[in-house]
Amino acid sequence: MTDLHDLAAKVIAEGEGPRLPTPSPVDRTTIRHWTEAMGDTNPRYQGPDAIAPPAMIQVWSMDGLNGRKRTRAPLDDLLDALDAAGYTGVVATNCEHIYHRPLVPGEELTSATRTTDMTGLKKTALGDGYFVTWQVTWYAQDEPVAEMIFRLLKFRPREERSPSEGRKPYPLRPAVNRDTEFFWEGARSGELRIQKCGDCGELRHPPGPVCPSCRSVKRTYAVAAGTGVVYSYVVHHNPPVPGRETPFVVAVVELPEGVRIVGNVVDCAPAEVEIGMPVRVTFREMDDELTLPLWTPGES
């Protein structure tokens, strides 16, 4: 995204853009509409000696409902480039006003914009994006009467995801190394993999680097049928466990292949779980990276 930063540097170097006349002069009718809408009853904004509320400053130079652009400013080139690069989201993050003096009805103003900064690429809760800052100065003749420093975030909106995706990271993560990664990769692809010795064929869970029967380090795996029987289980109530709603069931499941494995029993009430209960494996995506093999009630 160097080209975006190059463009930003160019736009910033151009300094203040042309002073553009506001669509209409400061006037009593617009002041009255604004103060009524805001519920501002300050007498200073009423009657023959009324001044314009300072916070109205941006009103005088707004383009109006038709959104007509009087003249393109260099800032527009930068914002268009961000849109084209996919940073189509926009949210205002900062707005500071500086008022040099009160304005009175009848004054004709101009405004000019200067781009002052662009930072990024930043990771934000909304998505990755750039913060762009600019400064608007309003003039009466050549006298600066007010200034505004404005910052917004142009971000790349996160892609829409199905409900099963895009969840926050599941906090209970396994440590994985070269001896165990086949198991977790299997879970991601919907396979319950049991380590099998490449020489003597012995099945083993949990897995390890060396076959305890023949010392072989030639490892392979078998894909389990996915059925099992509850050998023991617990129902966890207290204390609370991160990433889990209590109560939940954890079981030692005995597989027909001859090994045991630990996992949650899901899709049934904890009170229905018992030793000897047939279960069937199911694979559950806990977040975008981790899939766990879990167990649901199965056919006897």
Binding site: L172, V241, G263
Partner: protein
């Protein structure tokens, strides 16, 4: 170990919030143990603790004023280290590596890091330990109560054991603690109904199946039996000290062995203790059995040969573990009643029983068996009147 003895015991108060650092607790317990033995810090040349203890041996030596150390060691596997510290110390004394070894354990386990709280980082690193935990932690099986409950459920299924059978252990421990002024639950006994009504922690374990969480420290002085005889208190001779891990051993989750109803590692310790000491279960007049969770008290009675498999429930129902029972267990109230100091307070009670100074003294006691944490690689002692 023959020829070695426990010559001093010391402890802080047992509380829920000590209000001081773990190093200060350790120092206070060591001073108390040395005073009890009639020794000075300058007499100490060895220190042993648990791998989990946050106080380095050298830091403790600086605080207490111990000078040169010729032996220091740490024993692994949580509460399974308790009697192992004494085993290491006794071996050091026997080999001449050191003359006076202090064993210590100090923690703010209630006001600081609580072992019963889930730690999402347990499966964090791909060390052998992290990988082992990783077969269980992702499923939320990550607290000591849950790990033990998995064994307990199978044990209940195989032997027709009921929750009330576990509850009787809790009731006995609280009854013992009720007459022990040092116990947190002094004068606060419970009934079996209280046990049954207490909330679920992890089924099949109720709250009252779980030991306390405690702040405190205990220290023990190990030296030669000859030297101990010249010191202030009656020596508790170390007739045997042993560590043990079983085939297919894991930390609290040895669910992949053929038999899930035993504690193979405690069987290893028991056999070694009987072999070293030449004694038998019937030679024990009392036992200190590690009671972080009630079900493993039953399992230990069976693994150590005090009753047959599946019969511990009957042994306990018949009053076997009461002070006047067949095998008084944890006269101080254990970790369910006195305090959870990772098993070290049980060793101190073993020494008091040998000296004849316990508040719940067992009559005519010659030998007492002491065990350490269960479900993990563990350890045990046989202490004998000198």
């Amino acid at each position: 170990m023959a020829g070695t003895a426990l010559a001093g015991i010391g402890a802080t108060e047992f509380s829920k919030n000590s209000g001081r650092s773990e190093l200060q607790l350790a120092a206070e317990a060591v001073f108390a143990a040395l005073d009890d033995a009639g020794l000075a810090p300058s007499d100490v040349d060895g220190l042993v603790t648990y791998t989990q203890d946050s106080n380095q041996e050298i830091a403790l030596a600086r605080e207490v004023g111990i000078g040169d150390l010729t032996y220091f060691s740490r024993v692994h596997y949580g509460g399974g280290a308790a009697c192992g510290t004494v085993a290491h110390a006794a071996m050091a004394v026997t080999t001449g590596a050191a003359e006076v070894v202090v064993c210590y354990r100090a923690f703010n386990e209630r006001s600081g890091r609580r072992f019963g709280q889930p730690d999402a980082g347990l499966g964090g690193e791909p060390s052998s330990m992290g990988l082992e935990m990783s077969w269980h932690v992702p499923y939320g099986l990550m607290t000591p109560a849950a790990w033990v409950a998995m064994f307990a459920q199978r044990y209940m299924h195989e032997y027709g054991v009921k929750s009330e059978d576990f509850g009787r252990v809790a009731v006995a421990m609280r009854r013992h603690a009720a007459s022990n002024p040092a116990a947190w639950f002094y004068e606060r006994p419970i009934t079996l109904a209280d046990h049954q009504a207490s909330k679920w922690i992890v089924e099949p374990l109720h709250l009252l199946d779980c030991c306390q969480e405690s702040d405190g420290a205990v220290a023990l002085v190990v030296t030669s039996a000859d030297r101990a005889r010249d010191l202030r208190c009656t020596p508790a001779l170390i007739s045997a000290a042993a560590q043990g891990a079983g085939a297919g051993q894991m930390m609290m989750t040895s669910y992949y062995r053929d038999d899930m109803t035993g504690l193979a590692e405690m069987g290893v310790v028991g056999r070694k203790l009987w072999e070293i000491s030449g004694l038998r279960p019937s030679d024990m007049q009392a036992a200190i059995l590690y009671d972080h969770f009630t079900p493993f008290v039953l399992t230990q009675l069976e693994e150590l040969g005090f009753c047959a498999r599946g019969e511990a429930k009957d042994f306990i129902r018949d009053g076997g573990i009461e002070i006047d029972g067949h095998l008084p267990v944890n006269p101080h109230g254990g970790q369910l009643g006195e305090a959870y100091i990772h098993g070290m307070n049980g060793i101190a009670e073993g020494v008091r029983q040998i000296r004849g100074t316990s508040v719940n003294q067992v009559a005519d006691l010659e030998n007492i068996l002491v065990t350490a944490g269960t479900g993990v690689p563990t350890s045990g002692l046989i202490l004998t009147r000198g």
